[in-house]
């Protein structure tokens, strides 16, 4: 369409025919945006996909915490075993428990894949919508994000690096030598 949604035409100098044409263009644009909003399927995202992602990630957290707890309990039990004739049997029993606990990795992997798929859908729909309505982001950050960023900068909260430590332990040790 000729006019963007934000640039109002000078209606005082328009002929009735041009005004009708402008109104038709605006109506077309509104219809187009409504179509894009419908294609976004925002209700489906908020009703199904986001709650599903929350639930799956919650399950992943619970499964990893449960497995970690089981593995640590077994390790602590091994450390506490008396050094007697039953020691090997006791260790083996705990090791089998550890093997069983490690099965969480397969299931959590599948759960995370579902979340990644949901995020991919969300990304595609938002990207299509943003292109269709020529969306532009507001300048600046929202207050909550600005406060989070300020705290992270002030307290040097970089978090874990994606490919291992940014500085090797040996290099850190050299600073303290």
């Amino acid at each position: 369409m000729g006019h963007s949604a934000t640039s109002a035409p000078d209606t005082a100098n328009l002929s009735p025919q041009k005004m009708v044409a402008e109104l038709i263009q605006i109506a077309d644009y509104i219809s187009h945006v409504r179509g894009e909003i419908a294609a976004l399927r925002a209700n489906e995202i908020t009703r199904d996909r986001i709650p599903m992602a929350h639930e799956e990630l919650g399950n992943v957290l619970a499964a990893t915490a449960g497995a970690t707890n089981t593995i640590m309990e077994s390790a602590e039990a091994i450390l506490a075993l008396p050094d007697d004739a039953d020691y090997r049997a006791g260790v083996e029993a705990q090791i089998y428990t550890i093997f069983e606990a490690c099965a969480f990795q397969d299931i959590t992997g599948q759960r995370i894949s579902k979340v990644v798929e949901a995020l991919r859908h969300l990304e595609l729909r938002l990207a299509r919508f943003a292109t269709a309505v020529r969306a532009r982001d507001d300048a600046g950050l929202d207050p909550a994000e600005a406060a989070r960023k300020e705290r992270a900068e002030r307290l040097i909260l970089n978090g874990p690096q994606s490919k291992g430590p940014a500085t090797a332990q040996d290099d850190i040790d050299a600073l303290f030598a």
């Binding site: 915490a65 970690t68 707890n69 640590m72 390790a75 602590e76 450390l79 307290l155 040097i156 909260l157 970089n158 978090g159 874990p160 690096q161 430590p165 940014a166 500085t167 090797a168 332990q169 290099d171 850190i172 600073l175 303290f176």
Partner: protein, 127 residues
């Protein structure tokens, strides 16, 4: 100077699993008196109520981070000489340098092993 295995150690981390790991490693090293706190605020309260021989702290915690805890400890007349080891996933050089400037005695990057923890404790508390 041998390590004083009877000295109380305060482990500060918001992840109970990590507290448990460090507790077990310390136990393997022979330390029996291990206490814990889930963030800097809780740690500071414990430090003011009891004399600890060593603080082992994570960096990224809420509401008070390990970095803030370190600065509070070093600014407190009664606590400033308490040995302090940072154990953290914050591995950027700026973090290490900031902690060193703030008075940390040693710095361990997660994930770590028992040998690393032992060597740092020995370096800080005297072996």
């Amino acid at each position: 100077m041998a390590l004083d295995l009877s000295m109380p150690i305060l482990v500060v981390d918001d992840y109970q699993t990590m507290v448990r790991i460090i507790r077990n490693l310390l136990k393997q090293l022979g330390f029996e008196e291990v206490d814990d706190a889930s963030d800097g605020t809780a740690a500071l309260a414990k430090l003011k109520g009891r004399k600890y021989g060593l603080v082992i702290s994570d960096w990224n915690m809420e509401p008070m981070t390990g970095y803030e805890l370190l600065r509070h400890v070093r600014a407190d007349e009664g606590l400033r000489t308490t040995p302090f080891i940072m154990v953290t996933a914050e591995s950027k050089t700026e973090n290490v340098i900031a902690a060193k400037k703030a008075g940390v005695n040693n710095y361990i990057v997660k994930p770590f092993n028992a040998a690393t923890l032992k060597s740092k404790i020995e370096a800080v508390c005297g072996a």
